[in-house]
Amino acid sequence: MTLLKKFAYLIGLPALLIAIWWVSTLGTTNFFVPKPGVLADKLVTVWVGDRFVQDVVPSVTRLIIGVLLAILLGTVAGVLIGTTRWLRSLLEPMLEFFRAIPPPVLIPVLMLLIGINDQMKVAVIVSGCIWPVLLNTIEGVRAVDGTLSDSAKTFRIDGFNRLRYLVLPSASPQIMAGIRQCLSIGLILMVISEMFASSEGLGFTIVQFQRSFAIPEMWSGIVVLGLIGVTMSFLFQWTERRILGWYHGLREVEHAE
């Protein structure tokens, strides 16, 4: 496929959709649907500058800290639980239950226990994001190939080296699958924790716009959230390709036969 064709596929449908949106809002003055031009204008005037530093940066910082903490705690605990059989049997039903609780309901709980501050918001993100990472890591660690595990034992590879060269690599596809789920949950929780109780941040600001009927501004906030989501998704895909390149290569070879 030529580069031009690729580009056409990439840009074709979005361009078409925006064109339809543009044309259909030309004559109307629908209160709820802003014109694309106005929206683009608001996107720049509202979010570039002070507000970016005041609202977007703290939100994103909390999100990054929360997600990184969740990944760290989730993998460490997951490896520990996954490699210790009795610990796994002991904790598994509890963990399944905690995973089943919709994470946003923990916001009022953590508000009570921690108070309304930055730590609470980070704790909310961690408490929601940790489950997919934790449970996927446990699954991945459990599913280490038996032959490989036996070979490692024969060569007396144990302790840290076993973890570094056998357990973590073979669990990594599962761990990455968990991290992928955890990212979208993290973004959701970041927004909700700010909508529920806050005086700054993206979620708070968007709700403020909505309450004061600043509709184009509200839409521009939604677009900013979308952009953050898309950026995270691309960053993740890039990292996953770097980390799991060997795995995808292996899969391709296996499937090609």
Binding site: Y9, L10, I11, G12, L13, P14, L17, F32, W86, S89, L90, L91, E92, P93, M94, E96, F97, F98, R99, A100, I101, P102, P103, P104, V105, L106, I107, P108, V109, M111, L112, L113, S184, L187, I188, V191, I192, M195, F196, G203, I206, V207, F209, Q210, I215, M218, G221, I222, L225, G226, G229, V230, M232, S233
Partner: protein, 262 residues
């Protein structure tokens, strides 16, 4: 002689884990490690949880949440199945829609909360908007993977036997896609519950989420914990139900048949 003894060890340990957790929870406020006003002992919360089961208002809230969940899941799943089959069976459409899907998918559905409030207020429609948007992508992506996984030999064979387009979908594409679809629906069911509860919590549409918010702002701490437990129980029930449906609909599939034998 050891084998019959070893069998129940796993579940027993699991039970011990639950009991241990409840004991810890009971002791932390009793010993004053955390103020009991913020974390009531487990026995108190469980008491409220069980006495809730006798209340009509409690079941009404559960009903509201589950209506939003079920309707939203049904709408998004049917839309995703139809669109997935259409887009997935054409290379052109797959390529053309890829960038748009990848852009729309990561937009968190809670970003639509302000819009939902403006358009529908505190009604079921607000919940539905969030639930449908969030769970739609889970199913659609799985459908696209599933349709792409159809064996080219089977598909070409069907074509050379002149099966009609509908029959090809019915007998070739659908059986290949079904396991992917069920995975998608299972994931979507969990996400849909999260959003159905969140809508109550943030927007204030009737349901468990709203009850939690009310209990929290009214200082009914025990009730709040009991309701949080309830959402967890609902989540577990939905998971179990989905796994059951998955096993029934895919009983012919090797992944499930293998599971039963082992």
């Amino acid at each position: 002689m050891k084998t019959p003894q070893r069998l129940p060890v796993g579940p027993l340990l699991g039970l011990a884990g639950i009991v241990g957790f409840l004991l810890t929870w009971e002791l932390i406020p009793r010993l004053g490690l955390v103020n009991p006003a913020f974390l009531p002992p487990a026995s108190e919360v469980l008491g409220i949880f069980f006495s809730n089961l006798a209340l009509g208002a409690f079941w009404a809230a559960v009903g509201h949440t589950m209506t939003g969940w079920a309707l939203g899941l049904a709408i998004s799943a049917s839309a995703a199945v139809v669109l997935g089959l259409i887009i997935g069976s054409s290379t052109f459409l797959r390529r053309a829609t890829n960038s748009t899907i990848e852009f729309l998918r990561p937009i968190p559905s809670v970003a639509l909360i302000p819009l939902a409030v403006l358009l529908f207020g505190f009604n079921l429609e607000s919940t539905l908007l969030l639930v449908v948007y969030a769970s739609f992508w889970q199913v659609l992506i799985q459908m696209l993977y599933g349709v792409a996984d159809v064996d080219p030999v089977a598909s070409n064979t069907a074509r050379s036997f002149r099966l009609s387009r509908f029959d090809r979908i019915r007998y070739v594409v659908w059986p290949t896609t079904l396991p992917y679809l069920m995975t998608g629906i299972r994931l979507a069911a969990a996400v849909a519950l999260i959003l159905a509860v969140t809508a109550g919590l943030i927007i204030g549409t009737p349901g468990l989420g709203n009850e939690i918010a009310l209990a929290q702002s009214g200082g009914a701490v025990g009730q709040m914990y009991a309701l949080v437990l309830t959402t967890g129980v609902l989540g577990i029930l939905i998971n179990l139900g989905m796994r059951f449906i998955e096993r029934r609909t895919l009983s012919w599939h090797s992944s499930v048949r293998g599971e039963v034998v082992v």
